[in-house]
Each structure stands twice: as C-alpha cells, then as structure tokens.
C-alpha cells in the first residue's frame, strides 16, 4: 500500500519537475498532460472521485488541448527574454524550499482529531434529497459560491473575446481543426461523440447520488463538442449569436433567478422549498451542464478571428 503511494508521489513530483526543467516548451506541456493523468489517480487515493473526475476532464483533458495548441503556436516565435541569472535561480530556489518546508510542516502539524463538516453536511443531506454530499455542498450549502463561479466563467469568455481585433467582432473563433481533417479523426469524432454525450448526460444525472454532477458531466460534453470541432464536423459559433449567449448565461442566470425566488419559496435567498429541493436542484444543474458544455470549448477556441459570413 505504502509503496504504491510513495511510488505515485515520486512519479508526480518527478513529472512536475520535468515540466519545469524541460528545455522546449512543447515537452513541458506534454509533461503537464501526463502529470494531470497521474493527479487523477492521486485524487482517487484521497477518496475524492468527484475531484478526480473533474481533474481528469478539465485539469488534464481540456486544459491539455488548450496548452498543446498554445505551445504549438508560440514555439514558432523567437523567444525574447534572456535566461535567468544564477543569482535569481538561487534566490528562487531558497524561497521555494522555504515555502515548501513551511507548508509541509503546517500540514503535518494540523490538529488531531481533524475538524470536519462531514456530519453536518450529512445531517442536512436529507433536506436536499441528494445522495452525493459534494453535489449538495456545491448546489445547496454553498450554492452562492457556485453561482458566482459561473459568473466568473462568463467573464472569462468576455475576457477571451475582448482580445479580438475589432474587425472580427461578431465573427467566429478560428476553427479547431485542419481544413481537411484525417479520415480517422472524423471517424473517431463520429463514433466517440454520441457515446461521450450519453456518458456525460449520465454523469450529470447520477451526480445527485454518486460521484459526478453538473461540472463533470458538462466537462465531458464540452470535450465531445471539442472533438467534433477538431474534426471539422461543426464550426465554432458566431460570438454574436443570441442563442449562444443565452446558452452561456443559462446556468448562472437560472441559478440566480431561483436564488432570488428563495425568499418567496423557502424564506431565504438560495434556499430550496422543503420536499421540492431535489427536482429544483436537478433543474438548475441541467442549465449549468448546458452552460459548461458551451463555455469550455469556447474558452479553448479563443477570440473571434474571422468574419462569420462564410
């Protein structure tokens, strides 16, 4: 048991060190993708399947695509900055060792028995009608955070779009794939996407009671949208499309409206009426899945870079 965990730990740290030491940017990014995979296993060992799923889908999968594409484009350019001097390296190493040491000491001296909200979270679980406590924290106890975080995603989309040249405003982001994609890729997209959509929807649906939920399901759906776009079976949408904008805000907007209606239904903002909580939560989550599934591919696609007429 211990050997496995130790080996995994060494591996994670080793790959992380490699992403830093790699001379070429592309190798570093490839190392990072491998690193994300390993982290998912660490999360399983920490009894956090919900997090493992999120890490696998977003931390490794979607982020991997984003970084691979970026490194490919940037590595074509000359690197302007001089390499760091030895003094800077030493100072940085000293600082890093200090921070890591302090952090390790702090973690190891955390009080025993550890404080926990697990019993409280479980006690309130009945009122929500959910079986998955992580989902309950996200959508019920700390729903305010989750709603705001969805607003952050909307801002991220606006931020990414805002770097577009003015003349392309309202147009489409660059295509994700080559003009004549490989037949194999098209085949993969055609077969994988339907399976992935079923799995994504299922993950959202079971998320009320099992590991999974709106984030994970939405991320899987987003990944399927991305592979379909990489195979050029569909194109990134025009950014001024009304339907697109509605899909992007659907999650936070429905969440916000339900939260605002809380005082009428249940006596408090963001409270759910007794006995009606679970359907309402699934209702909100459904829109969140939609928003996440649309937001993540758009964040990867980047700002509009062509007119949308074609």
């Amino acid at each position: 048991m211990i050997l496995f965990d130790l080996g995994l730990a060494v591996l994670v740290l080793g790959v992380a060190a490699w992403t830093i030491a790699a001379r070429e940017m592309f190798s570093a990014v490839v190392g990072y993708v491998a690193y994300g995979l390993l982290l998912a296993i660490v999360w399983v060992r920490l009894y956090a399947p919900d997090v493992a799923l999120t890490e696998a889908a977003i931390g490794s999968g979607v982020t991997g695509v984003l970084l691979v594409v970026a490194s490919k484009r940037l590595s074509l350019l000359p690197q302007a900055d001089a390499p760091p001097g030895r003094g800077l390296k030493r100072a940085a190493a000293a600082l890093s060792v200090l921070v890591a040491g302090v952090l390790a000491a702090a973690v190891l001296t955390l009080p025993d028995p550890a404080p926990s909200l697990a019993p409280e979270a479980d006690r309130e679980l009945a009122a929500t009608g959910l079986g998955n406590a992580v989902t309950a924290v996200l959508i019920a106890y700390r729903s305010f955070d989750t709603m705001l975080e969805k607003v952050v995603l909307v801002l991220a989309v606006v931020g990414v779009w805002s770097v577009a040249p003015d003349r392309f405003w309202g147009g489409r982001p660059a295509p994700l794939g080559p003009p004549r994609p490989d037949a194999a890729l098209v085949f993969l997209a055609r077969v994988l996407a339907p399976i992935g959509i079923v799995i994504g929807v299922q993950m959202f649906w079971v998320g009320a009671d099992e590991p999974g939920g709106a984030f994970q399901g939405g991320a899987i759906l987003a990944a399927m949208a991305m592979i379909v776009m990489m195979a050029r079976l569909t194109e990134p949408p025009r950014i001024d499309s009304g339907r697109l904008r509605l899909a992007l805000i659907a999650g936070p907007a429905v969440f916000l409206v339900v939260g605002l209606a809380g005082p009428l239904m249940a006596g408090s903002f963001f409270a759910y009426p007794a006995g009606f909580a679970k359907p309402l939560i699934l209702f909100i989550e459904g829109f969140m899945v939609l928003s996440i599934a649309v937001t993540l591919p758009l964040l990867v696609a980047g700002p509009p870079s062509r007119k949308g007429e074609e």
Binding site: D182, A184, L185, L188, I195
Partner: protein, 97 residues
C-alpha cells in the same frame, strides 16, 4: 467471490501487467518511431483489456461491469485512431524533411 474467480482475476491482471511491460520496452528499445508506434498500441490495448477482464468479477454490479467494457472499447477506438493520426503526422513530417 469464489477461489476460481479470484484466480482468474489474478492471472488476467498478471498477463495485463506483462503486456504493459512489453509495450514500454518496445517504446524504449525499438529503433524508429513507426515500429515503436506499432508495438505500443497493440501492447497497451491488450494490457488494458486483460486488466479489465481481470476486474470484471470484482465489479459490484452488472452496470459497473458494462461500464468497464465500454471503457475498454472507448480506449481501443481512441488509441487505434490516435495511432493512425500519429502515423500520418510522421509521414507528413518525413515528407517535409
């Protein structure tokens, strides 16, 4: 779980491990990219297949078992495609050089 099933799991998983080792050796030892690619995809898919096979008796429910099989099928599909894509990229690069 019966002793027999347990034994079956062990044998299958053991064989799976063997194929992973073989695949990695191929990746490290084979002389050129294309032959590495060839050996790799075969080995690691067989490896995963055997591990999945070994875990089937331990799956909690029929649905969980089905998920394992679907998973294996997905990996088969993806890795076959990726092998082809990488092969194509190799050809293009070789042509360009």
């Amino acid at each position: 779980m019966s002793v027999l099933l347990g034994l079956f799991s062990l044998v299958a998983i053991g064989a799976g491990v063997f194929f992973f080792v073989a695949g990695t050796l191929a990746l490290l030892r084979f002389p050129d990219s294309l032959s590495r690619l060839h050996a790799l995809t075969k080995a690691d898919n067989l490896g995963l297949g055997l591990v999945v096979l070994g875990l089937l008796p331990r799956a909690g429910s029929p649905l969980a078992a089905l998920k394992l099989i679907v998973l294996w099928a997905i990996v088969q599909l993806s890795s076959a495609t990726v092998a082809q894509l990488i092969g194509g990229a190799l050809r293009r690069q070789d042509a360009a050089e």
